[in-house]
Every structure is written in C-alpha cells, then in structure tokens.
Amino acid sequence: MSAAPYCLEVDRVHVWRGDRHVLKGTSFRLEGGELLHVWGPNGTGKTTLLRVACGLLRPEQGAVSWMGRAIHSFAADYQAALAYASHETALKSDLTALENLRFTVGLKRAVEGAELRETLAKVGVGACADLPARVLSAGQRRRVAIARVLALRAPLWLLDEPYTNLDTDGAAFMSAMLDAHVDQGGCAVVVAHHDLALGCRVRRLELSA
C-alpha cells in the first residue's frame, strides 16, 4: 500500500432538478488507495453526484474539494487529475477508435499513436484501432472508453456504470484494472447498481430516494 496524498471530499451537497430534491446533503471523503462504490435505485442522483464531483454541475449548497482546495478555484488542474467515464461511451462514431483517443487524451498531454495502440491492445480492442466507432459493437465501444480512462493516467477515476455491455472477460479485466489503480494509490468513485467483486479496499455509499 502506498501513501495516500490524494483526497476527494464532497461536503453536504444539495442539488435540485426543478422541484425534485435530487441530492440531499450527500457527503463523502475519499482518499488515495480507496474505491467508493455508489449504489442505489434509479433516480436517486448517482449520476448527478458523479457530475458534481467532476465539476460539471455546481450544487446549490455544499462544496467539493480535491486535496483540500475547492475544485472550482483551480478547474484546469483539477480536470487534469481526473478521468470521467459517463454512462454513454462518448465516442464520435465517424472517428476511428485511435482518433477518438488521440483527440481526447491529446488535449491533456502530448501522446504518440504507438502508445495509444498499445493501450487499445491491452484492453482487447487492438484490432479495432483503425475502425470507425460506429462499426464497433457496444462491448467494444465500452472497452475503447476504458482505454481512454487508462490512457489519461489520472489519479482520480469517476466511472458511471463502467461494466455496462461488457462480457465476462471484459468485466474481469475492468475489475483487474480497478484493483491495480487503487493498489497504486489512485482513487476511484464507481457508480454501479450491482455488487463489485474487487480485491482492493471498497467503501460503499448508498443513495436513497
């Protein structure tokens, strides 16, 4: 176990969507070497919580801080430290898998095509690197999205239902990746409606209606 310099703190966050009080004072504190499993029924704000943690959504009350600083005060650096995977795979269907990666990872750091191909191969879609995303299956697209998270090399992972459309091999791979990431001192918030079979330290946060 390595030291835990990372710390994500969500403090009493309230979010209203129109009339619905979606997040009612949710709080958690996550340190490096930990994984937070957010679960709960539909419509309880799991995705909203993740988006608040990213900084995409500003809560009406409450605050989010990373390593002690409010995330909105240093947005660019905070974004450099996180990798967000939404429920949709967020791939442009007209671009190849490789181009999709290059145009997202490339905005964060200078990256070579060879490195991205290696990452795609690691995830099991090396053969799809030069195929446009629209011809890939749902499972393959999910794997490309995972490759993106890996390639971003971020200490904080925010993943929304990452196991969607993955077969048993893919799910095993996903779990292995999460274990490796957390073991190396990174932290992760994973929204999943099912149980996670992970070897690393998992804390659970249940959201209720």
């Binding site: 995409l56 500003r58 660019a76 996180l82 795979t89 791939l91 671009l95 964060k108 200078a110």
Partner: protein
C-alpha cells in the same frame, strides 16, 4: 506535461475538420440552400435583370445569413448527443478555446465556402464583376461575425427541442446590423462608389464580436452542461 493553448487549438481544429470532411454531403447543404433561397427571389418577383440588380445586395445577404444559420445548430449538437462535449469540457482546456476552435472550423467550412460560391450567385443576380471583391470581403467578415453570434445561440439552445428554430429566432435580430452594413457595402460597390464607410463598420462589428463572443458562448455552454 500538459499541452499549451495553441497546441490544443490546433488539435481541436484538426478534430473538427476531420469530422466535417468525413461527411462531405453535409458540407454542401448550406451552399445548396444558399442557391435555392437566391432562386426564390427572381421566381417570386421578376426575372428582369435591372430589377434584380437593385435587389441583389439584399437578396444575396439574406440568403447568405439564412444559409449560415442553417448549419449553426449543429455546432455543439452532435457532441452533446454522444457525450463527447462533456469529455471536452473536462479535458483541462478552457471552454473558450474549445468554442473558438469549433467556431473557426465551422466558419472555414461553411462561411468561406459561401464566399467562394458567391460570385456564381452574384452573376445570377446581375451583379457586375467589378463589385465582386468588395462583395466577397464583406461576406467574409459578415459570415465570420454570424458564426460567432451563432455559436452563442447554439450554446444556449443545444439540447432543446426545436432548438434550431429558436436559434434562428434569437440570432437573426442580432444579425440585422450585419445585414445593413454588408448589403450597403455591396450596393455601393455595384454603383461604383467607395464602400469604405460600411466596410469599416462591418469590420468593427466583426472585431467586436470576435472579442466578446467566445466568452459569451462558453458561458452559454457551461449553463447548458449543467
């Protein structure tokens, strides 16, 4: 380790242009629309060349405005639909850079294309060749300004049902000064007079909009992304 703003802009421009050219049919749509709208006027009024020449600057400009607006609502829509807009917003680059890159790319494929096609359209409206340089210069500045205004409108309406109608509704009134100065510059060029006055105003509008619009459009995007 992280890349600078200029490198990011280059990468984003490459992304946008790559995406545009993967669907070449879509690049032609505003141009064809430009031609169709221009054709409506002689059909609706009269094919008499003398009459057309008087109306030509206005007709040309109205058609160019409408054709430019037509493609504007796609500026952010595709990215918003497949979730890549969020990835861009979380890339560590400011929304301003993203907006600038997308708008410039959009102008390059639609506005500049309109300017290039304009001599053809101008000939059908009996505009003399001597007026072409001023006409094209004014159209270049006008379509650029309109792309900026359209970016603000697109940022505000992305994700709304009937967003494109609303976009035209909110942007067209703001584009009326453009129309006034641009059409007048073309008119003066046809008449052989100096078009310096309206061209300067048009240039001033262009610079003003270029300076402020990225900020407004990125604020609009931030509102939409919530």
């Amino acid at each position: 380790m992280s890349i600078g703003a200029v490198a990011a802009m280059r990468l984003l421009l490459r992304r946008e242009l790559t995406l545009s050219f993967r669907r070449p049919e879509q690049l032609l749509q505003p141009l064809v629309f430009f031609l169709i709208v221009t054709t409506l006027f002689p059909l609706g009024l009269s094919p008499q060349l003398s009459l057309l020449r008087e109306m030509a600057p206005g007709v040309l400009w109205v058609a160019a405005l409408l054709a430019s607006l037509l493609s504007m609502d796609g500026l952010f829509k595709s990215d918003a639909d497949d979730g890549t807009l969020e990835q861009l917003a979380l890339s560590g680059q400011s929304l301003g850079i993203i907006v600038i890159a997308k708008t410039i790319a959009h102008w390059l494929v639609s506005g500049v294309a309109l300017v290039v096609v304009s001599p053809v359209v101008a000939t059908t409206l009996a505009i003399p060749i001597e007026a072409f340089p001023i006409m094209m210069l004014s159209l270049a500045m006008g379509t650029l300004t309109l792309s900026w205004l359209g970016a603000i409108g697109a940022g505000l309406t992305v994700g709304l049902r009937r967003g494109s109608v609303l976009l035209s509704l909110i942007i067209l009134p703001l584009a009326m000064p453009l129309l006034i100065f641009g059409a007048n510059a073309t008119d003066r060029a046809i008449g052989g007079e100096s078009a310096a006055g309206p061209l300067y105003f048009l240039a001033a509008l262009c610079v003003f909009t270029t300076t402020l619009a990225p900020f407004a459009a990125s604020t609009a995007l931030r509102i939409t992304l919530e």
